[in-house]
């Protein structure tokens, strides 16, 4: 080792860096400056616009905004509107069916895929590809598949079951269920991926310990593994609920809200009143209601989950 090295006198390295008060101040402000535009955008384009929409919903605006105060007239009109009620009840049917089926299918597929499957990566990517597609594409494809003339019905007829009818797409009673079918096809693989990631995150030794204790595999799943996936259920639920409330494209492509308005959802309702029927005030009121639905679903869920995690 060279002992003189570090006491050499010629070390320019030791000279203090160029002093520049102004640069230091700027540097201290840079992080805030960098975040500021996004912050302002969020303030204006999210919070400000929510407020603006709220204001619009209290006005009699039709084709153009008109800032007279109309009280809750638009909300009254909204809740007198049969189509809105249809949209809400469709949302309940669609949201419930979509979420429950996606969770069940996702969990089942994840558990199956977790059995040391050969070609797991390949299978997983097949389950997931619909997620890369636009809802419009999905809607178009399923519209064709569910088409009563040439679609599944014809296929089953060709197989020899000539009495089979399958016309949900044009049956006002059932049209909303076609949306569930297509939405589940698109999103269940994603839920599977979330569950699979959750399963992979479980500590192996817990399962080994349970096996040593003599628990059977189904028991281990029921009592240990699935309960420990609680956070995944939680986040999947949030995402699915969110997708359900926002669902718009799929309905537009698959049924366009029809037949009649039997498969309308709040999102399509809002679009058609705000942008095609020139009822801005009513559209704004329905948008506010959608926001409230999201808040009403997500906030209690988040709250209870946060309380749980704080207690234990």
């Amino acid at each position: 080792m060279n002992a003189t090295v570090l006491s050499s006198t010629t070390a320019p390295a030791a000279r203090p860096a160029r002093r520049c008060r102004w640069c230091d101040t700027l540097d201290a402000w840079l992080p805030k400056l960098v975040v500021a535009p996004t912050f302002v955008c969020s303030l204006v384009f999210v919070y400000g616009y929510i407020l603006w929409t709220a204001v619009l919903s209290l006005t009699p605006s039709r084709l153009l905004p008109n800032y007279e105060f109309a009280g809750l007239a638009q909300y009254e009109a909204l809740f007198d509107n049969e189509r809105w009620w249809q949209a809400l009840s469709n949302l309940a049917v669609f949201g419930g069916g979509f979420i429950v089926i996606c969770l069940a299918v996702g969990l089942l597929l994840a558990v199956l895929l977790d059995q040391k499957i050969r070609a797991e990566g390949f299978i997983r990517s097949i389950y997931l590809y619909p997620m890369a597609l636009s809802f419009i594409v999905t809607g178009t494809a399923w519209k064709w598949i569910l088409n009563p003339e040439f679609g599944i019905e014809k296929l089953v007829h060709d197989w020899g079951f000539t009495n089979f009818t399958f016309d949900w797409l044009i049956d006002p009673e059932w049209s909303i269920y076609t949306v569930i079918v297509a939405a589940v096809w698109q999103s269940s693989g994603f839920v599977m991926a979330l569950f699979l990631a959750g399963l992979r995150g479980i500590d192996d030794s817990i399962i080994k310990a349970a096996q040593v204790d003599g628990a059977s595999m189904p028991t281990i799943y029921r009592r240990i593994i699935i309960p420990s996936l609680r956070p995944v259920f939680f986040s999947s639920f949030m995402i699915l609920a969110h997708i359900a409330v926002k669902s718009f494209d799929l309905v537009m492509a698959l049924t366009n809200g029809g037949p009649g308005f039997s498969s309308d959802l709040p999102a399509t309702f809002m679009y058609s009143f705000a942008f095609t029927r020139n009822q801005i005030g009513l559209g704004a009121a329905s948008a506010m209601m959608m926001l409230m639905i999201v808040v009403a679903v997500i906030v209690p869920f988040m709250y209870s989950e946060m309380r749980r995690s704080r207690h234990g």
Binding site: M1, N2, A3, V5, L6, S7, S8, A11, P12, A13, A14, R15, P16, A17, R18, R19, D24, D27
Partner: protein, 370 residues
């Protein structure tokens, strides 16, 4: 002129006082150890010296400059982190020269410095590797290389060895000490390992809950702990604290110890003045394991040595010594005896107490009495 002086430095986060008035001062070339239990504020203090954190009040001087408002780059310091914090995307060479490059050191000069540093730390063959291709010890060296390349006037180390395995830690400890001897640069070194503290430091500041409990040389702190906390923190195995009553013995005072069925009163040399006020009351009698050994004939009769026969509860051989546990006043007391003299559990053995370095604490305030 001191190399570093810290005057009444305080730090609060959201109204929580983390550092409660720190005063420390070291001379040029001194090796200062900050030691204390986890969460006592060592890293916070170090970050404030480095300029990574601002002080709430107080003053920090490095050399002759008050640096409170200087940014890290202007403080003429270098720092080695616990996780090494090597830039993962750069080679070892680039890691070492990054700081030089920013300071606009000419390329040729940079190359010379890297070379010298690499020689000093024997990492020449690693210069073109990425940190991910290095072992823990090698990363440690690179991190030190990065620090010394700039030849700062003060080095800051935050638990640099705690990610190494035991053997490597001892090696690197020696190497850091050699490096310090050679360079003569002042160092502030955080650790919670009291052996590191004892072996490396010129000065040790023992901290607890944001306060310096004691500041002194390693020997002072070891022999003359200011309070119960310092006495218990420094030394391994740690000092025995035996609750004991003070009694008058002859012209002086002593402590009353019960073990097995027997009671002993050991006179404390030189304890007269300070123990007088405690006559009849209970104190904590502190004695280090190495001050309780097997009986040695040659020392018999010296006034500071007392012998007593005590029952053995447990023995723990460590190799060079065997730790023998004996009950005294209801506490298990660790004694460090030569393996050849250690008895078996269930037996009893004669132990010799060296009372010259024993210390006494007020059980309520935990402050030193004598």
């Amino acid at each position: 002129m001191g190399a570093l002086s810290i005057r009444n430095v305080r730090k609060s986060y959201h109204g929580n006082e983390i550092l409660k008035g720190i005063d420390l001062e070291i001379d040029k070339g001194e090796f200062l150890i900050l030691v204390g239990p986890s969460g006592c504020g060592k890293s916070t203090l170090l970050s404030m010296i480095a300029g990574l954190d601002s002080v709430t009040s107080g003053e920090i001087r490095i050399g002759d400059r008050v640096v409170n408002d200087l940014s890290p780059k202007d403080r003429d310091i270098a720092m080695v982190f616990q996780s090494y914090a090597l830039y993962p995307n750069m080679t070892v060479r680039e890691n070492i020269s990054f700081g030089l490059q920013i300071r606009k050191v000419p390329a040729a000069e940079q190359a010379r410095i890297v070379e010298r540093v690499a020689n000093t730390l024997q990492i020449g063959h690693l210069l073109d590797r990425k940190p991910s291709q290095l072992s823990g010890g090698q990363r440690q060296r690179v991190a030190m290389g990065r620090a010394i390349s700039r030849e700062p006037s003060l080095f800051l180390f935050d638990e640099p060895l705690s990610n190494l395995d035991a053997k490597l830690r001892v090696e690197m400890r020696t190497e850091i000490k050699l490096l310090h001897q050679r360079m003569g640069t002042s160092i502030v070194y955080v650790t919670h390992d009291q052996i590191e503290a004892m072996t490396l430091g010129d000065k040790i500041a023992v901290m607890k809950a944001g306060e310096v409990q004691q500041f002194g040389t390693p020997q002072e702190i070891y022999d003359n702990p200011a309070n119960l906390f310092v006495a218990g923190f420094m030394g391994s195995p740690s000092m025995n604290f035996i609750p004991a009553k003070v009694e008058a013995v002859g012209s002086g005072y002593g402590v009353k110890l019960e073990s097995g069925q027997r009671t002993h009163v050991f006179p404390v040399p030189g304890g007269d003045g300070k123990l007088k006020a405690w006559e009849g009351r209970e104190v904590l009698f502190g004695i280090r394991p190495e001050q309780i050994t097997h009986k040695s004939e040659s020392r018999l009769g010296l006034p500071q040595f007392q012998t007593a026969e005590m029952p053995i509860r447990l023995t723990e051989p460590t190799g060079p010594d065997t730790m023998v546990l004996v009950p005294i006043n209801g506490k298990d007391v660790v004694c460090r005896v030569h393996p050849a003299h250690a008895g078996q559990p269930g037996e009893s053995m004669e132990l010799m107490f060296d009372l010259s370095k024993s210390v006494f604490f007020d059980p309520a305030s935990e402050q030193r009495i004598a």
